[in-house]
């Protein structure tokens, strides 16, 4: 059997879960409809895994997100490594207590006696017509919670490598998947391929300006950088991969070199992750900055249903290009 030349984002997820299940008996999956009898997950990320690893370890659940995350927390403090699927990120609002008050705090509150090595996967993202209650990017909330990590991937190989690292990591990790990307194709990783948490990737080298981003916008930013290059602006593109704690060294090193920075994310701009990154850059590199750091994010609005409004809500390539040019003065 030949290795595939391309895999999809969901296949990347599937590979990581499959490898983790095979490697460690403490790993198990739970979530709504994730077993094969229920279709292998609404995004098919778990397809075939219950057939291979059994429904004890790949468990479909009732529609009970608090019970799902709670069960994951309880199993985790006994040393297991649960991976819970919460179908859409907005559904985290019904189980925030388990994640924020328990998963993120139990290590500290127990003085290190227990730890919570759980991973929560969730899909989200605007642009596909799911409307106001299924599209929010809420990573900033979790980044603000001490005791947990937040991760997202911009391509199938990273999805595989980051998810595997998240599962092996000893801290609770939220793994965000952009639903608009599940079908996106990319180069397949080698078996065992892992991407370390906390390490950014430089997607494109450049000398004039640093563009810091993560997840789905990485592709958009690369496209904009390409266009800008034709106009004589050389942009360095950083894909954070881990949002919290983010790779400050990579960001600061790059901006120290370029003297200019733009941060791009899909989440609403106001009070988003970009604010923290911008603040850190200004705090550390104030004297070396040629212009103020710019941020591009989505508008201050719930995600609209109507396609043209949904596009108006989202960050755009034009806004990214304009922000970069603004930093060039």
């Amino acid at each position: 059997m030949n290795a595939p030349t391309k895999i999809s984002f969901s296949q990347g997820i599937n590979m990581a879960l499959d490898e983790a299940l095979a490697a460690d008996p403490n790993v198990f999956l739970l979530g709504e409809d994730i077993a094969d009898a229920q279709g292998g997950g609404v995004f098919k990320a778990t397809l075939g895994l219950s057939a291979k690893h059994g429904t004890d370890r790949v468990r479909s659940t009732p529609i009970s997100e608090q019970a799902i995350v709670g069960a994951a927390v309880g199993a985790a403090i006994t040393g297991m490594r649960p991976v819970a699927e919460i179908m859409f990120m907005n559904f985290l609002t019904v189980c925030m207590d388990q994640l924020v008050n328990h998963a993120a705090k139990l290590r500290f509150m127990s003085g290190g006696l227990t730890s919570v090595p759980l991973t929560i996967r969730c899909g989200t993202g605007a642009g596909v017509g799911f409307g106001g209650q299924h599209s929010d990017m809420l990573e900033a909330w979790f980044a603000h919670v001490p005791g947990m990590k937040v991760v997202t991937a911009s391509n199938p190989a990273d999805a595989k490598g980051l998810l595997l690292s998240a599962i092996e990591d000893d801290d609770p990790t939220l793994f965000i998947e952009n639903v608009a990307m599940y079908a996106a194709q990319g180069a397949p990783p080698e078996p065992g391929y892992k991407v370390p948490l906390g390490k950014a990737a430089i997607r494109r080298a450049g000398g004039d300006v640093t563009i810091i981003t993560y997840g789905r916008p990485v592709g958009e930013v690369e496209a904009v950088a390409e266009t800008l290059a034709a106009e004589g602006i050389s942009a360095e593109v950083i894909d954070l991969r881990t949002i919290a704690p983010f790779d400050e060294a990579a960001v600061l090193n790059s901006v120290a070199k370029t003297g200019r920075a733009v941060i791009v994310h899909e989440a609403v701009k106001a009070f988003g992750v970009g604010a923290e990154i911008s603040s850190r850059i200004h705090e550390e590199l104030f004297g070396q900055l040629k212009s103020p750091v710019k941020r591009v994010g989505s508008k201050y609005s719930p995600v609209p249903f109507s396609p043209p409004l949904e596009q108006a809500f989202l960050y755009s390539r034009a806004e990214i290009a304009a922000a970069v040019k603004a930093t060039m003065g």
Binding site: P62, I63, V94, G131, G132, Y300, F305, S306, P308
Partner: protein
């Protein structure tokens, strides 16, 4: 506490139920055919099989009674009397929709016909329904609130909190569980520990009715009994209306997980021809029924044309209705 209302339903009422059933049935069919032909694009939750249940329930209500429903709610909205043109325009994201295209199919609101909230978060409508009912109780406006949800939704925390509070406060609210045997791809018994949903009413000391939702007469009598009770200060009722989701969770999805016998049984018991037969048995003429169907078909043509011809909202709408004052550009 489980009661079984008895009585008779007069011809006029049954004809009204027929009219609403036909409206739902034809609308549902039209959505599916336009989706297949590619004329419209949206995530559509079919209501095939649940028409009579909803038509009977809403016929027992007054026009100004309140309704809360879900993503699978087009039957409820239509039966409650939502204007057909505005509904079609909203489902297609047009500026002329009930919600200017901002909400979309999962978030239909039309206060004029009592359609107050449509939610995409499982179980979330129940606590909101209590609030509507509380408002009526405080204002003594005599309104009754009906909230619709599925069998799978009875496993989420909000269900529990809402039923307990409604009973403690004796709110004029009806919890209508449309038990269609599946929550997404999970069969009833795989996710719900209760032998039947009405068993849960015991734990709230609440009046409960289990009924064949596909039997217009039985369903209407159940609905009427619950409505009368609520309107007379008797407090809430949990109705478990048995039905079947004939076309899977989302339009276009694979339904191979549903046992063939179950599908055949559902076809045999299809509530729409069954209601037609009941009326014919009562000596209502085929011509009279055909005339009702034809009137609806004509309205439907108008509504679809209206929606397709309507403009999309302006991009500037992204700044309006977010807060009570417009957001600065």
């Amino acid at each position: 506490m489980t009661t079984s209302p008895t009585g008779t339903v007069d011809n006029d009422t049954l004809l009204e139920i027929f009219r609403r059933t036909s409206l739902i049935n034809q609308t549902d069919e039209r959505f599916r055919s336009l989706l297949i032909s590619g004329k419209i694009r949206l995530v559509y939750y079919p209501v095939r099989g649940q028409e009579v249940l909803s038509a009977s329930m809403m016929t027992a209500l007054n026009p100004d009674d309140y309704l809360v429903t879900t993503y699978r709610g087009v039957h409820d909205q239509l039966a409650k009397g939502i204007p057909l043109k505005k509904l079609w325009a909203e489902f297609t994201g047009k500026a002329t929709g009930t919600c200017k295209g901002k909400g979309g199919p999962m978030h239909i609101t039309d206060p004029e016909t009592g359609v107050m909230v449509t939610t995409g978060i499982v179980g979330s409508g129940l606590p909101i329904a209590n609030g509507l009912a509380l408002s009526s109780q405080l204002k003594k406006d005599g309104r009754v609130t009906v909230v619709c949800f599925g069998d799978g939704s009875t496993n989420i925390g909000a269900f529990h909190e809402a039923l307990n509070m409604a009973q403690i406060w004796k709110l004029p609210v009806i919890f209508l569980c449309q038990n269609n045997r599946y929550g997404e791809h999970t069969a009833f018994a795989e996710s719900t520990s209760a032998r039947q949903i009405v068993d849960r009413a015991v734990g709230y000391n609440m009046n409960a009715i289990k009924v064949d939702g596909n039997d217009a007469e039985a369903m209407y009598l159940a609905a009427k009994a619950a409505v009368d009770r609520a309107r007379n200060g008797g407090g809430p009722t949990l109705i478990e209306a048995m039905t079947f989701r004939m076309l899977g969770h989302v339009f276009g999805a694979n339904t191979s997980y549903v046992p063939k016998e179950l599908v055949q049984q559902a076809i045999d018991e299809d509530p729409v021809p069954r209601l037609r037969k009941t009326l014919l048995d009562r000596q209502i003429s085929e011509d009279q029924l055909a005339a009702i169907d034809a009137g609806i078909a004509s309205d439907l043509n108008d509504a679809v044309a209206f929606a397709l011809d309507s403009p999309y909202p302006d991009a500037g709408e992204i700044r309006i209705d977010v807060l009570s004052t417009e957001i600065a550009a």
